[in-house]
Subunit: 298 residues, 2 copies
Amino acid sequence: MKKISIFGVGLIGGSFALALKKAGAVAHIVGVGRSVASLERAKELGIIDQIGSSVAEAVDGADLILVAAPVAQTEQILASIAPHLQPGTLVTDAGSTKSDVVTAARKALGGKIAQFVPGHPIAGREQNGPEAAIVDLYIGKKVVLAPLPENAAEDVARVASAWQRCGAIIHQLTPQEHDRVFAAVSHLPHLLAYALVDDIAKKPHADLLFQYAASGFRDFTRIAGSSPEMWRDISLANQPALLGELDAYMAQLAQLRSMLAEANGAALEAVYANAQRARHNWICTIEAAEQQNRQGGD
Amino acid sequence: MKKISIFGVGLIGGSFALALKKAGAVAHIVGVGRSVASLERAKELGIIDQIGSSVAEAVDGADLILVAAPVAQTEQILASIAPHLQPGTLVTDAGSTKSDVVTAARKALGGKIAQFVPGHPIAGREQNGPEAAIVDLYIGKKVVLAPLPENAAEDVARVASAWQRCGAIIHQLTPQEHDRVFAAVSHLPHLLAYALVDDIAKKPHADLLFQYAASGFRDFTRIAGSSPEMWRDISLANQPALLGELDAYMAQLAQLRSMLAEANGAALEAVYANAQRARHNWICTIEAAEQQNRQGGD
């Protein structure tokens, strides 16, 4: 590719840029964003070659545009791109929700919607900003594409290829499937981790409590170190599916509360043991898949 | 010390043995436990020098006895020790709860209660058994002692000294303080992690969900890899404090549910941001403490 434009050069957009550069997959990368300081830092770090002085200039002649900003900004960013979007350019995104992104894209891009291929790289760290970007973030990671009926197969393949050059493995889900899945395995755990830390921090003896929090607490709450703005947007964007998962979890906690109140050790142990077993099987499956990816990559 | 006896030679008891041996703090270690195979493995691994053929033999002439078994077994183990407990021997434990252990110890040891110094090393891994024991498990970790009014100061100091030889840092709390603190920062997170994995594993599309679970989910649920039997015992042993924390958390989730249902982004973001800030401050504090420990150890 000759030119790529990235709207939002933080952890996700910046790591995409670094990986494509390393793969020799792109000649020129233009960065666009809200914070001039961040863009200047990204240029200093060699993540982007140029800071776009206008959307028109940034978009002109681009092979691919990646929108990697908090999902609530998607519509506005796509609307700013739309008037300048040329026929040869594809647009994709990195949003953690897809139904809302598709709605926003249809509004913003109108007749050019076929040029937009929704995507979601399943990779992250709790750090944000261009400083957090790393070249190997996507190696062996899944990228879910959620193509639209309007997308040409070859356009989907072009977006897939860019992510593959970053080392990622491509999966496909519909936007609705995507949102139900990630409500359960990502969005709900984030909400639960934030809820626990906030709950403890508000207690009068919070200092004493934090003093004895150890590695289990640290890992359990790692995702509560993530960007509050980004997770506010994700929570709202995926509200219906997240409410459904939260209700199921609250019902589960109510059951566990009854077991505990009745001192029903056998029932508690059955839940704990089922969880331990399921997690063990899951870990074995992902470790086998990682092993296979490594062998496939040799 | 000439002789130490360890009841329960798994991760906790085995790591205590390895660390004391490395420090040259003990000449002879006897292991006692339910599983002959585990004890034989512990002997093969050089964790213990001898498998106790009877409680009487294991306890005879010991300077220190560590009870490192699931907390529900504490009373029975201490009752088996009591008739053989000699005046020069101290007993301590590694249980994750303390109020119930103290009750059990008073019942089992009667007039010899002054020889029992309750303790709790704040260290762990999700693996269990002697294979999981590692020599440096306690380095820089906290050990909470919860002394009884009957304990002589010099006896508390002797138990503290053994843990210090393992590299641990000694803290003191009352048994009640201990249980309230750990209900919040350890026991509740374990219950929440088990609850989430079990909730997902029971869904009809569990396989699809697990396929997209990533590193955030892995860390959040790491503690759900812990021993179900051990955590059943801890949950029951600390039932009143754990119910209190669970109720507070369920109320917190109900509040977050309302914010989400009302699409109140500002309120959600305030909770998320408070949690992120509190966790960041906590991490900075523990990293500064670790830094200081390293410098102190030079």
